[in-house]
C-alpha cells in the first residue's frame, strides 16, 4: 500500500497552495459576474468547477463568497447546484454574506420548475444559520403545500433542519402539525416517510419539555397510524420501509391476532432485495413474538433462510454486518442452527473478521451429530497458511471439547496438532490441553505421554510455556523427567522475560517437590533464590511467601500449594446473559456488531452527557488521590467516566422514594424524623441530648456511634439566622446540560474533605451503591464514574417547593483512605450550609443499612 499522503500535511505539487490561484479566480469571477453574453454560463461553469474542486481538496476558498453570490444569478441549473453547494459549505463562516444569497434562493423557491424549487428550498434550509431563520418560514410553509411531491419531500426534511436551528420558530409556525397532516394524507409515499422521520425526531426532542409532544410521540405508535403505514408499506422505497419497520418494532399489539396479522403482512419483506429491509423485518418478527415461545421458535426457522442467503450474496462488508446478526441469533439458539453448520465454514478469501465470527458460530452449533465434521473442518484450518485463523481454529476445537461432545476424538486431534511441530500450533494446543486436563483429568495419561515429548525449547510463547510448566508441575509424578525439565528452565531463569512464566515456574517446582522431593530439592532452592532476587514484585513476593510457608510447615505448604483439585465443570462465561439479552433487544443496530449493548458505547456520544463527560474526564481525580494514583489508573478512571450512567437510568432501578421530604430510616428508631419536624430550630446545639431536627444534630449522633465524619462540619461562619429545616424535593429532575451549565456558572460555595468511616468505604464497591443510598435521601446523582478505590460523583438536589434552588455537589471518594472530597455549589446561598450538613450526614450513613 502506498504510504499515507495526508492532504493536510503534504500537498502534492499539483495542488494549489491557495493564495495566488484563489486571487486569480476572484478576478475572473468578477469579470463574469454581470455578463449576460452568450457562452458566459459555460465560462462561469468552468470557474465554478475550479472553485468547487479547490473546496473539495481542502483549499479555503471562502474569500470568494461575495463573487460567487454575484455570479449566481443564472438560469443554468448546474451552475445553481454548484453555487448552492458552495454556499452551503461556507455560509456558516460568513453569516452576514450568506444574507446576500437569501434573495436569490427565495426567488428560486418560487421558480416554475419544481426541480429548482426543491433544490433552492433544500439549500436554503441547509445554510443552518440562526440569523436567517425568519426567511425560512415562508418558503417552508409554501413548500409543504406545493403541488409537486418533490418539493414537499424536501420541505418535510427542511422542517427538521429548521427545528435544529431554532426549535421555537419551528414550533411557533405550527410545522409539526402540518407535517402530521401530511403524514396521514399525502399521496406520495416519500413525503409521508420524510414527515415521519422529521416528526419522530422533533417530538422525541420536544417530549422532554412538552407533554403534548410526548403525547404526539405516543400517538405515532397508535394503532391507526401504525396500520395506516403498514398498509402503505409497499409504496415506500426501501429506505423508507426501514424507517417504518423501525417504528413498528416499538408498537405493542393488543393480542396475538394482531401479531399474526402484522407478520402476515410483512412476510414478503423477508424476500426484499435490500438487506437493510430484511434485517428490519426480522427485528419486527423477533420482537413481536418474544412472549410466544413456540411462535418465536418458528420465527427463527423462518428467518434462517433469508439470513443465510443475505450472507452469501452481496459484498463482503454487507455479509459481515449480516453475519454479526446471525452470530447473535446462533449464540442465542445454537440448536436451531445445528444443521446449518456448513454455512459457517470459512472460505479462504474471507477477511479474518468474518472467519472469526464463523469460527465462533461453528463452536456454538457443535452438538453430538455434527461435532465430528466440524472438528474435521477446523483441523483443515489449523493446518492452513493463514496463521491467525489457524490459531483461532485450534482454540475453537478446544472450546468444542470443553462443551463435552465426543471428547474422545477431539483429544486425539489435539494431540495430532502437537505432532505438527509448528510452533504456533504447539503453543495454542498446549494452552488447550491444559484447560482440557482441568476439566477431564481422566485424559491425563494420554496427554502427558505426548506433552512429555515436547521440548520446552520449542515453546516460546509465554502462555504456552506457562501451560507446559503447569502440566509439568501438576503431573510431575507421571512424567519421568519433569524435575529435570523444570531444573533446566530454572537454570535459565534470567533469560525468561515473562513474569507469568516465572510465577508458574515457582509454583510448578514446589508442586513437583511435594511429589518427588529428593530429585527436586536442589532445583527448588535455586528457584526460590532466583525468585527472591527477582525484580518483579509479584515473583519476589510469591517466592518469599513459599519460602516462609515451607519454613513454617511443609505439610501446610502442600495443602496450600497443591491441594486436591476438583475438575472444573464449567468455565466462566465472559459475557453475562443480561448483556446478551440487552444486545438482542437492540437487534439491527451497531450493538450487534460491537457485541456490546449500546449504552456501553453510545452514551458518551449523545450530545448532552457527552460534552459533560468530557468535562468530567478533564477534571483531576482529586488533589489528595492524585498523588497515589498512577497515571495509568487515572486514564482508566477517566475512561470509565465516559461510560456515565445518568440519573434517569438509575432512577428506574433505584429504591422507590416514599415521598417524604427527608427520611432517615436507619437511625430514627426513637423519635427522629426530619419530615415530621415542623418546628424551627437553631442548628447550634450540637450536643443536645435528644437532637431531633437538624442535620448537624444527626451528625452528632453519628459521631457518638463512631461512624460519622471525624471532622465535625462546623460551619466557619456563623450559621444563618434560623434557617428553616431543609426539605428536599424527592423527585428533583435536571437534565445533564442544565447541570453542566449551572456547574459552570456557580462558584464553589463550600469545599471540604471528610472521612467516611470504614464501613461506608467498605460498602462502596461500585458507584451504584452510593447512588442508591443518596437517592433515598432525595439527593440524585447525575453522573458517576471511576473504579475502586477512586470514585467520582456529581449529585444534585432541589429544595422542596422552590424549583429554582438547586444544590450541586461534586464528590470524589477514595475508598482506600475512606475520605471524601466534596465541593458544594448552591443557587440558594442561605440554605447552603444546611444542605451541606444534610449531604454529609447522608454520606456518613452509607454502609449502615
Amino acid at each position: 500500500m502506498a504510504p499515507p499522503a495526508l492532504p493536510q500535511k503534504s500537498p502534492s505539487p499539483s495542488q494549489p497552495s491557495g493564495k495566488g490561484e484563489v486571487a486569480d479566480l476572484k478576478i475572473q469571477l468578477r469579470q463574469h459576474a454581470g455578463s449576460r453574453a452568450p457562452g458566459a454560463d459555460d465560462a462561469k461553469r468552468e470557474l465554478f468547477k475550479k472553485v468547487i474542486s479547490y473546496m473539495t481538496i481542502g483549499v479555503d476558498v471562502s474569500s470568494l463568497f461575495s463573487e460567487m453570490v454575484m455570479c449566481s444569478a443564472t438560469s443554468d441549473i448546474v451552475l445553481k447546484k454548484m453555487c448552492y453547494l458552495y454556499v452551503g459549505n461556507y455560509a456558516k463562516g460568513n453569516p452576514d454574506l450568506a444574507l446576500l444569497t437569501i434573495n436569490f434562493l427565495q426567488k428560486d423557491c418560487r421558480d416554475e420548475d419544481p426541480m429548482i424549487r426543491g433544490l433552492a428550498l433544500r439549500s436554503l434550509c441547509s445554510l443552518r444559520l440562526a440569523n436567517l431563520v425568519e426567511y425560512l418560514v415562508g418558503p417552508l410553509g409554501s413548500g409543504l403545500k406545493d403541488n409537486n411531491s418533490y418539493v414537499r419531500t424536501v420541505a418535510a426534511i427542511g422542517v427538521l433542519k429548521l427545528y435544529h436551528i431554532s426549535a421555537a420558530t419551528c414550533v411557533d409556525a405550527d410545522f409539526p402539525s402540518t407535517l402530521k397532516a401530511l403524514l396521514l394524507k399525502d399521496s406520495d409515499a416519500q413525503v409521508v416517510a420524510n414527515c415521519l422521520s422529521a416528526l419522530q425526531e422533533i417530538w422525541s426532542l420536544e417530549a422532554a419539555t412538552s407533554e403534548e409532544a410526548s403525547r404526539e410521540r405516543e400517538a405515532l405508535l397508535s394503532k391507526p397510524v401504525i396500520y395506516y403505514l403498514l398498509n402503505r408499506i409497499k409504496e415506500f422505497n426501501e429506505w423508507a420501509q426501514c424507517l417504518v419497520l423501525d417504528l413498528v418494532v416499538k408498537y405493542i399489539p393488543s393480542d396475538s391476532n394482531e401479531i399474526f396479522d402484522i407478520m402476515n403482512l410483512l412476510e414478503d419483506r423477508l424476500q426484499h432485495a435490500n438487506g437493510a429491509v430484511v434485517l428490519a423485518t426480522i427485528k419486527v418478527f423477533l420482537h413481536l413474538t418474544l412472549s410466544m415461545t413456540d411462535v418465536h421458535q418458528q420465527v427463527y426457522e423462518r428467518i434462517k433462510a433469508p439470513l443465510l442467503t443475505l450472507v452469501s450474496s452481496g459484498s463482503q462488508e454487507q455479509s459481515y454486518a449480516v453475519l454479526s446478526h446471525l452470530h447473535l441469533l446462533v449464540m442465542r439458539a445454537p440448536m436451531l442452527f445445528s444443521s446449518d453448520y456448513k454455512h459457517f465454514y470459512c472460505q479462504y478469501n474471507e477477511p479474518s473478521y468474518v472467519k472469526k465470527l464463523k469460527l465462533e458460530m461453528l463452536t456454538a452449533v457443535a452438538n453430538e451429530s455434527n461435532t465430528y465434521e466440524i472438528v474435521t473442518e477446523l483441523c483443515e484450518y489449523a493446518a492452513n497458511v493463514d496463521v491467525p485463523i489457524a490459531r483461532e481454529s485450534i482454540r475453537a476445537v478446544g472450546k468444542i471439547a470443553l462443551q463435552q461432545y465426543d471428547v474422545n476424538a477431539i483429544v486425539d486431534r489435539l494431540l495430532q496438532f502437537l505432532e505438527m511441530e509448528k510452533d504456533y500450533v504447539t503453543a495454542e494446543t498446549l494452552v488447550l490441553v491444559k484447560d482440557l486436563l482441568r476439566k477431564y483429568p481422566q485424559w491425563s495419561h494420554d496427554c502427558i505421554a505426548v506433552v512429555g515429548n515436547i521440548s520446552s525449547k520449542n515453546v516460546q510463547e509465554p502462555k504456552a510455556k506457562a501451560a507446559l510448566i503447569w502440566m509439568l508441575g501438576e503431573y510431575s509424578q507421571d512424567m519421568l523427567d519433569a524435575p529435570y525439565i523444570l531444573e533446566s528452565l530454572i537454570e535459565n531463569w534470567d533469560d525468561e522475560h515473562s513474569a507469568e512464566v516465572r510465577l508458574h515456574l515457582l509454583t510448578a517446582i514446589l508442586k513437583c517437590f511435594f511429589k518427588r522431593p529428593p530429585e527436586t530439592q536442589k532445583a527448588l532452592g535455586a528457584a526460590l533464590a532466583a525468585g527472591l532476587a527477582d525484580s518483579h514484585q509479584d515473583v519476589h513476593d510469591r517466592a518469599l511467601f513459599y519460602y516462609r510457608l515451607l519454613q513454617y510447615n511443609v505439610s501446610v505448604a502442600e495443602s496450600v500449594v497443591n491441594p486436591p483439585k476438583q475438575a472444573v465443570s464449567v468455565f466462566a462465561d465472559t459475557q453475562s446473559s443480561e448483556i446478551k439479552d440487552r444486545i438482542f433487544d437492540e437487534f439491527n443496530s451497531l450493538s450487534v456488531i460491537y457485541q456490546k449493548p449500546s449504552y456501553m458505547f453510545t452514551d458518551k456520544e449523545h450530545r448532552g452527557p457527552f460534552e459533560f463527560s468530557e468535562d468530567l474526564g478533564s477534571l483531576s481525580v482529586g488533589v489528595e488521590s492524585a498523588d497515589t494514583v498512577s497515571p495509568a489508573q487515572r486514564v482508566e478512571a477517566s475512561d470509565n467516566d465516559l461510560l456515565l450512567s445518568t440519573s434517569e437510568k438509575e432512577e428506574s432501578r433505584g429504591p422507590s422514594n416514599n415521598g417524604s421530604a427527608y427520611s432517615a430510616p436507619v437511625y430514627d428508631g426513637s423519635s427522629i424524623s426530619m419530615a415530621a419536624s415542623q418546628t424551627q430550630s437553631v442548628p447550634t446545639f450540637q450536643n443536645q441530648a435528644l437532637p431531633a431536627y437538624t442535620p448537624q444534630a444527626i451528625l452528632a449522633i453519628d459521631d457518638l456511634l463512631g461512624l460519622g465524619p471525624s471532622v465535625a462540619p462546623a460551619p466557619a461562619a456563623a450559621p444563618p439566622p434560623s434557617p428553616p429545616p431543609l426539605k428536599l424535593n424527592p423527585k428533583a429532575v435536571i437534565d445533564p446540560s442544565t447541570f453542566q451549565r449551572k456547574w459552570g456558572q456557580l462558584s464553589v460555595s463550600l469545599s471540604k474533605e471528610i472521612s467516611m468511616g470504614s464501613k461506608g468505604a467498605a460498602a462502596l464497591t461500585t458507584p451504584q451503591v452510593l447512588l442508591r443510598h443518596m437517592q433515598g435521601h432525595s439527593i440524585q446523582c447525575i453522573a458517576s464514574g471511576g473504579q475502586a478505590p477512586n470514585f467520582k460523583f456529581f449529585f444534585y438536589a432541589q429544595k422542596a417547593e422552590e424549583p429554582a434552588a438547586f444544590y450541586l455537589v461534586e464528590c470524589v471518594v477514595n475508598t482506600f483512605s475512606s475520605k471524601a472530597q466534596i465541593k458544594f455549589k448552591a443557587e440558594d446561598q442561605s440554605t447552603n450550609h444546611a444542605f451541606s450538613a444534610l449531604f454529609q450526614s447522608a454520606l456518613s450513613t452509607l454502609g449502615m443499612s
Binding site: 447546484k81 416519500q190 409504496e235 422505497n237 429506505w239 465454514y345 492452513n384 497458511v385
Partner: protein
C-alpha cells in the same frame, strides 16, 4: 443517521466530502481513519464498521476508492453499509467505472447524485432509473446532444414522472424503437472438497438478470419449469408477492434497462463439473506437488477460463512447477496460479513439480488450499429452467432472449 460521507483515494486523500447534517464532521477523522488503515497493514482487512474516538465509521472499498460514512448515533449498521454499496453501484453506473480520476473529473455529478440520494442523513432514493432521470449521466451521447441542441445542462428539465407514479422504478411513458427483453440466469457455485475428495459443501447462488427495453407499461410473467428446487429467494421490489406465493410465478412491471429481478440459493448439490486432485508428498526437505484437473460431471458445454490459485506455505524456500497444459505463475509473495483455460477433451491437464523447504524442515505441515475458477456458458448448473416468459400490454410483439452462465464462486479444494 449518517452525518457525513467522504470519498478517499487509494493514497488516503479526501476526494470528496459531503456533509449531511448540522453537526459538521471534521476532516481530521479521515486522517485518523487512514492511520488506522495503515497500521492494520491491509485496508482490506479493516472492519466495515469501526469505532473512532468521536464517530462510528462505515467503510467499504471499491476499486481502491474508500467510501467512508460517519455517524454518532445508534443506527442499523446494514443501512449504512448497504447505502454506501448503493452509492458505489450508482457511481459505477454513471461514470462507467470507479477510480480516482473518474471521480475527480466528475465530482460535480457525484455531488449532485449524493444530494438526491440522501438528505439530512437519511437515504432517499437509490434507484438508478429514477436518478438517471434527474441527473443525466456524463456519457458521450449527452455531450453530443448538448452540442447539437445547445442545451448544456446535464440535468433533465423535467422531474421524473416516476416520483409520482405507483411504479416508482419506471418512467410513465417510455418509447423504444425495437422492443426487446433479455433474461439471463447467472449462477455461482460455492463448493468445498475435502482432502478425501468428498464434497463437503456445494451450493449455488444465482441471479435472474433482466435487460428490458420495452415501451409503455408492460406486464411480464416469468415462470420456471422446476421452481421447487429453490431454497430461498429475494426479489426486486417490482415483483408481486402473491403470484409467487401461490403459483411460483414472477409477475412484474420491469424497470427500464438492466436490473436484478431475483436472487436465489440452491443447497445440497451433488456434483461439481470439475475435479481437482492435489497431492503433496514430503521427503527429506523437499515436497512433491501434483495437481490433476478434469471433467467429472460433463455439463454438456465447454468449461472455460479454468484457473487454479493457491498460496504456498511460508516455509517453502523455492518452487519449481510445470504443467502439461496452460501456464503456471509463481509470484514473489508465493501465490501461485495455474491458468488452464479451456479444458481439452482428449487429456486431463496436470501440474507437478517440487517444493524446496527451508533448511531444517523435514516435511510440510502447513498445506495450501486450492481455489478454482471456471466459467461455463450456456448452462445453469443448478438445473433451474425457465419455462416461459409472457408479456402483456405491449404495442408490438417483442424479441425475447434467454441465456445462462455458471461460474465458480468460492470453489475450494483441500490438499490430500
Amino acid at each position: 443517521m449518517l452525518q457525513c460521507i467522504f470519498l478517499l483515494s487509494d493514497s488516503g486523500e479526501v476526494m470528496l466530502e459531503k456533509q449531511l447534517t448540522g453537526h459538521k464532521v471534521d476532516r481530521s477523522i479521515c486522517a485518523w481513519f487512514w492511520e488506522e488503515a495503515i497500521s492494520q497493514g491491509d485496508s482490506f482487512k479493516l472492519l466495515p464498521v469501526i469505532a473512532s474516538p468521536t464517530h462510528y465509521l462505515f467503510q467499504i472499498v471499491r476499486e481502491g476508492v474508500t467510501f467512508l460514512a460517519c455517524t454518532q448515533v445508534e443506527m442499523p449498521p446494514l443501512m449504512g453499509i448497504e447505502f454506501l454499496c448503493r452509492v458505489a453501484d450508482v457511481l459505477v453506473d454513471y461514470l462507467g467505472g470507479l477510480n480516482e480520476d473518474l471521480i475527480k473529473d466528475n465530482f460535480v455529478i457525484v455531488y449532485e447524485l449524493l444530494d438526491e440520494m440522501i438528505d439530512n442523513g437519511f437515504p432517499l432514493t437509490t434507484e438508478p432509473n429514477i436518478l438517471r432521470e434527474m441527473i443525466a449521466p456524463p456519457n458521450i451521447v449527452s455531450k453530443m446532444l448538448s452540442v447539437v441542441t445547445g442545451n448544456s445542462s446535464n440535468v433533465s428539465n423535467t422531474l421524473p414522472g416516476a416520483t409520482a407514479s405507483c411504479v416508482p422504478w419506471r418512467t410513465a411513458d417510455l418509447k423504444h424503437a425495437s422492443n426487446e427483453v433479455y433474461v439471463d440466469l447467472v449462477e455461482e457455485m460455492d463448493a468445498i472438497i475435502s482432502r478425501d475428495g468428498i464434497l463437503v459443501k456445494c451450493e449455488i447462488y444465482g441471479e435472474v438478470q433482466v435487460n428490458s427495453h420495452l415501451s409503455g407499461l408492460p406486464d411480464l410473467t416469468l415462470s420456471f419449469a422446476n421452481p421447487s428446487i429453490l431454497n430461498d429467494v429475494r426479489f426486486h421490489p417490482c415483483v408481486r408477492f402473491r403470484p409467487w406465493e401461490s403459483n411460483q410465478i414472477l409477475s412484474f412491471v420491469p424497470p427500464d434497462g438492466e436490473f436484478k429481478l431475483m436472487s436465489y440459493r440452491i443447497k445440497k448439490l451433488k456434483h461439481t463439473p470439475l475435479y481437482v486432485r492435489p497431492q503433496l508428498t514430503s521427503d527429506a526437505g523437499t515436497s512433491r506437488l501434483s495437481v490433476l484437473v478434469g471433467i467429472r460431471d460433463d455439463p454438456g458445454k465447454t468449461i472455460d477460463n479454468v484457473t487454479v490459485h493457491f498460496q504456498l506455505p511460508p516455509c517453502v524456500a523455492s518452487a519449481d512447477l510445470t504443467s502439461n497444459h496452460g501456464t503456471v505463475n509463481i509470484l514473489a509473495d508465493k501465490t501461485c496460479s495455474w491458468s488452464i483455460g479451456r479444458i481439452p477433451k482428449d487429456k486431463a491437464p496436470s501440474m507437478s513439480g517440487t517444493l524446496v523447504l527451508e533448511s531444517g524442515l523435514e516435511r510440510l505441515h502447513v498445506f495450501p488450499t486450492f481455489r478454482v475458477d471456471f466459467k461455463i456458458m450456456g448452462v445453469a448448473l443448478s438445473g433451474l429452467q425457465i419455462d416461459k416468459l409472457d408479456l402483456k400490454n405491449l404495442p408490438s410483439p417483442p424479441y425475447k432472449g434467454f441465456r445462462a452462465l455458471t461460474r465458480a464462486g468460492e470453489f475450494e479444494v483441500y490438499n490430500e
